[in-house]
Amino acid sequence: MSRPAVNSDTDFDVSKPLKGTAGWLDDRFGGARGVRTYLLRKVYPDHWSFLLGEIALYSFIILLLTGTFLSFFFVPSTTEVMYHGSYVKLDGIKMSEAYQSTLRISFDVRGGLLIRQIHHWAADLFVGSLMIHMLRVFFTGAYRKPREVNWLIGILLFSLALIEGLFGYSLPDDQLSGAGLRIFEGVLQGIPIVGTYLAYFLFGGPFPGHDIVPRMYIIHVLLVPGILLALIGAHIFIMFWQKHTQMPAKGNTERNVTGQPSYPYFVAKTSAWFMFIFGALALLATFAQINPIWLYGPYTPVAISSASQPDFYMGILEGSLRAMPAWEWNFLGHTVTFSVLIPFALPLGIVLGGAAFWPFFERWATGDKAYHHINDRPRNAPVRTGIGMAAIVFYGVLWAEGANDVLADFLHIPLYTVTWIARVLVILGPILAYVITKRVCLALQRKDREELLHGYESGIIRQLPNGEFIEVHQPVNEEKRAVLEAKKMIALMPGPGSEDDNGVPPPSSRGVLGKARAVANRAFAETIPVEADGHGNGHHGNGHAVTGEEHEAVGAPGSAALPPGEGGEE
């Protein structure tokens, strides 16, 4: 059965070679239907936050392209040479071949400096966009069933990106990166039992040795990129297979996905996006100098410059090392150096391990086993949003502490004061962030409910016959209503206080785990219900029209809730 085309401009023939090739391939693989429905018509929902993952993908492609170019010229060797190259300030200085070849790329290869700087900027953009992409996925709950596996792959990708970045900027063997590598080696040594062996095996003996640069090189150009490529392939395949999530909107349901088809819309848009990212990186590489290794000089273990900082994604490790008090134990004649081990493992462990663990924790605490293809608005999941903000503050404080010397200098306060502020904030900040964020989310929910029930403030002031001025509220339009009504409620499990007549608690809340689950569930279930129908009772008289559920929730012991009656409309 033939249908008329949407567009009447179809009176042309597909070019013969293209048609021929496609036919040749279909004869052998028979993919016509799959190509049409899975590739050409694949639906891409339109939302700005969905572009973040693409930034990461395209930075990675740019990294592969520029990295291949750099590998043509870079010599991964620490063999000592005397420099007599174009950068005359280092003439006659002894350095490694790695450093010398990086100078050559910068000053003797046409376009070498540009490509090197694009590569470095792209690496920063890669990790940065991964972070923001993960935050988007977290805050909108897009990691929920059925996408937990892709979330875990994402965390793995991010962890590998950190290693890839660290090894990449350590390759030129300049003073700055050498110091970073020394710190890395010092941390490795501190690992109990196997630490010194790990360090000696990785570095081929005592630091720095001559093995680390070629070893890091092969890990950086082959091993990690290979794994990254495979995981990115899996990540994207799973995204195709499970289809995109979408934001709540009119017509969007858990059973459909709405957006523009891949061909030609998304293909054209995403190509443009790729070009913009490449163009932006080229602009940065042209005008914003990054990692000028010729200014740092070749590595020597006896020198260091003050205000040394690693690339931004290592800042949390650097800051943790700086903020940590000196704790060291002697354990049965062995040294356990917590002042190294805790900063090395704990902060990233909390953030990444916590992120990996979260979907399963949330599922356990909410009892929510349903599929989720429509994302949450962050305000509609106050606990999740609060935890996310707490993680951001935790990460941010340690990251900023990584530049405590620069901050002290900039703010004209003593260096140790900065560190003490960081030590306090890293504990207090996340707690405050959680509490405040949760309250803000609930307040926004109240505003949503208000808008849904009474309309939005139109800005029109009307005088009543009795002289009173009122602001006219107008009902929200259909699109907005669909968004507001998309909020889902989390079922409250039976918890403490729900013992039966004989004082026996329900099975689900017994034991330590059961009690913990009940407490967590109470926190998750705290919400401002949206009553689309029968909202008369909430009108003016009692602005805080809550259901029994919410009363129970806010009154629950241990929850940091507002007392009933507060927070209603004034």
């Binding site: 639906v43 000592e80 174009s86 005592p206 709405t258 913009f276 042209t286």
Partner: protein, 370 residues
């Protein structure tokens, strides 16, 4: 472009919904709302069970659309021409501009980078205006299918797996199963074994440095020995390398030393462990000159900053701070131990030499340190 902006906001009643956070509805207004009722673009087979298409906008022959399209086309063409020009500029800059000096490199970088940026940005801009202003505004709603297989399929798969396992005799013959597992165990260990030769065992090498009795202290950079009289200005600090190992990075990683001169009476060096016995270390100094390891006891950065007025030695990496007058004890930061002190004396020519190696391991802590 400004005309295009003005046409925004005209939304036909049957327009596709707009998700908050997306760009405003495209102003190109191509396509036909009437045709839009018929889903399945050029479908000879029907995909309509899975896909529903909506098209937004005025019919393509509407004068507004024609004018708008013509303008957009001109902009797109201009963008692509600019891409071409920038691309030619890139090639020209590559051919025409040399490198090999800092100034020339920067000039080449500017020309190449600028032309490359313009090339990419203009191409992207052209493509974006093309898709947003020339292509009809089609939106598709695709149905999702259950990800979960239906129960029958699951059971059939499980049944087949069970049958296959039975056929393989894997369950029935435990001896085969267990010897197979036993047999492959060493195979799993093989990669780990193969990695053994990555490096030597650490042994006791982290406990020692190249300092030995009578080894001269050389000023780093000059590589010349120094007498106490030459280092007479109190309050200064210099970096010292061991004679014979001036350029040996592996040796210097542990053996680098800082030398500090104090005024008489300033030094209050406490005792130190030498093996298991405590010894006074004032006699490790010469003329109020004291030598500390330059390697931070935290994670091994060189402790390169010295504040004369407060006698504080500061590691610039993580700000471990050591009090120089009391044996480099830690007064702030993550380092847990004082900087080891190198016993000093003078040789027959009056040059500063080490009395012995450090009496404790230098640098970061490690498990076997004790």
């Amino acid at each position: 472009m400004s005309d295009m902006e003005e046409t925004e906001g005209t939304e036909s009643p049957g327009a596709p919904h707009r998700v908050i956070g997306t760009p405003p509805p495209s102003p190109r207004l191509l396509g036909s709302a009437a045709v839009a009722q018929e889903p399945g673009a050029v479908a000879l087979v029907s995909d309509s069970e899975e896909f529903a298409e909506h098209v937004d906008g005025l019919p393509p022959d509407d004068p507004k659309v024609v004018v708008h399209g013509r303008r957009a086309e001109r902009v797109v063409v201009a963008c692509f021409l600019l891409t071409f020009i920038a691309g030619c500029g890139f090639v020209a800059a590559y051919v025409g501009l040399g490198v090999h000096t800092v100034d020339k490199t920067l000039r080449s970088n500017l020309a190449l980078g600028l032309s490359m940026s313009v090339m990419f940005l203009a191409l992207g801009l052209g493509a974006l205006i093309w898709v947003r202003h020339l292509m009809p505004n089609i939106e598709v709603t695709q149905q999702r299918h259950d990800l979960r297989s239906d129960e029958k399929q699951r059971q059939a798969t499980e049944a087949y797996f069970k049958e296959g396992t039975a056929n393989s005799q894997f369950v029935k013959r435990p001896l085969v199963r267990r010897t197979l597992m036993l047999g492959t165990l060493p195979l799993l260990a093989a990669p780990v074994v193969l990695l053994r030769d990555l490096g030597p065992q650490p042994g006791t090498s982290l406990r020692h440095t190249v300092w030995s009795p009578g080894r001269r202290l050389l000023i780093q950079g000059l590589n010349k020995p120094i007498t106490p009289a030459q280092f007479s200005a109190p309050g200064s600090m210099i970096t010292i390398v061991p004679d014979g190992y001036e350029d040996d990075q592996d040796a210097l990683t542990k053996a680098a030393v800082i030398l500090i001169k104090f005024r008489p009476g300033e030094l209050h060096i406490p005792t130190r462990h030498q093996g298991s016995t405590l010894v006074g270390t004032m006699n490790w100094t010469v003329d109020n000159i004291v030598a500390y390891s330059k390697i931070c006891t935290h994670v091994g950065c060189p402790v390169a900053l010295y504040e004369q007025t407060t006698h504080h030695i500061l590691c610039p990496c993580h700000q471990s701070t050591f009090e120089a007058t009391t044996g480099a004890t830690v007064i702030f930061g993550p380092a847990a131990r004082p900087l080891p002190q190198l016993p000093l004396t003078t040789d027959a020519q009056g040059y500063l030499v080490s009395k012995s190696d450090f009496t404790e391991p230098v640098g970061p802590s490690f498990w076997e340190r004790g």
